[in-house]
C-alpha cells in the first residue's frame, strides 16, 4: 500500500518537475518562464518529498520534509517576484503576443519607485 502511495507521489512529482523543465525550454519570454516554472517545480518537489516522508514514515523525517516544503512555499514566490521585477528593470521584453502591459512607465527610472498611477515624467521635472 505505502509503496503505491510512494510511487504515485514520486511519479507525479517527477512529472511536474519535468513539466517545469519543458516549460522553461518552451515558454517564449522570461516572465512566462518564471511564471510557469516556479510553481510546477514547487509542486513537483513537494510531491517527491512527500513520497520520501511516506517512505521513511518517521516523525522527525516527516517534520523535516514538511519544513522543506514550507520553506520552498515561503521562498519560491518571493524569489519569483524579485527576479520578475528585476527583469522588468533591466528591460527584458514581454513576448510579442502579450496583450497588455499595465506596468509600462510606472517605475521611476532613478529610484525604482513604483507608482499606482501613470507616471508623468515631465511633471516631475
Amino acid at each position: 500500500m505505502s509503496e503505491i502511495i510512494i510511487g504515485t507521489l514520486a511519479t507525479l512529482g517527477t512529472l511536474f518537475v519535468l513539466l517545469a523543465a519543458v516549460g522553461v525550454i518552451r515558454m517564449p519570454d522570461t516572465y512566462l518562464r518564471i511564471s510557469v516554472t516556479t510553481k510546477a517545480a514547487t509542486l513537483g518537489i513537494g510531491l517527491i518529498l512527500g513520497a520520501a516522508a511516506v517512505y521513511f514514515s518517521d516523525i522527525s523525517i516527516t517534520s523535516r520534509v514538511l519544513a522543506i516544503i514550507l520553506f520552498i512555499l515561503l521562498t519560491a514566490p518571493v524569489g519569483a517576484h524579485l527576479i520578475g521585477r528585476a527583469s522588468y528593470f533591466i528591460g527584458v521584453k514581454l513576448w510579442k503576443k502579450s496583450v497588455i502591459d499595465d506596468l509600462e512607465g510606472k517605475y521611476k527610472k532613478t529610484t525604482h519607485e513604483l507608482r499606482s498611477e501613470d507616471l508623468d515624467e515631465e511633471k516631475e521635472n
Binding site: F16, L19, V22, G23, R26, M27, P28, D29, Y31, L32, I34, S35, V36, T38, K39, A40, T42, L43, D58, I59, S60, I61, S63, R64, L66, A67, L73, L74, A76, P77, V78, A80, H81, G84, R85, Y88, L94, W95, K97, S98, V99, I100, D101, D102, L103, E104, K106, E113, L114, R115, S116
Partner: protein, 158 residues
Amino acid sequence: MRSKFLSNILLTLVWVALTGSFALLNFLFGFVLSTFILWVISRGNGENKYFKILPKLVSFVFFFLYELFKANIQVAYDVVTPKFYMKPGIVKVPLDAKTDMEITLLANLISLTPGTLSLDVSNDRKVLYVHAMYVSDKEKFIKGIKQGFEKRLLEILR
C-alpha cells in the same frame, strides 16, 4: 505580548518537530531557544506580530493546494501541446489588502498559482502588478483574483 508568547510556542513546536523528540527536556530546550531567538530579533524592532496569523495560514494551505494542483494542469496542457493558447500580459490589480502581511500573502499565493506571477506592489500599496498567462478579459481576470484569493484570504486573516 500574547502574540509573542504564541510565536514562542509555535517556534518551540517547530523545534520539537524538527528534532523529532517529544521529551520534556527537549520541549524546555526548544522553548528557551525560541525565547532567545525572539529576543535576539525583536530587539530594536517595535512590532511583534510575527506569528499572529500562523494558525489561520495553516488551514488556508489546503485550499490553496487544491488551486495549485488545478492550475498546474491547465498550464501543463499549454506547455506540453505544441501550440500556445495563452494571452499573457501584466495587469494592474487594485488591492483591498492593507497590512504587509496581507499584501505579501496575497502576492505570494498569486505567484504560487500557475499562470500568474506577482511582479510588484506599488509604493503606495494601492495596486499589485500581476503577470498572467491568460488575460483574454482584463476585468474578468481582476475580478477573479479579488473574488477568489483576496476575499478568502482577507476573511481568514481579519
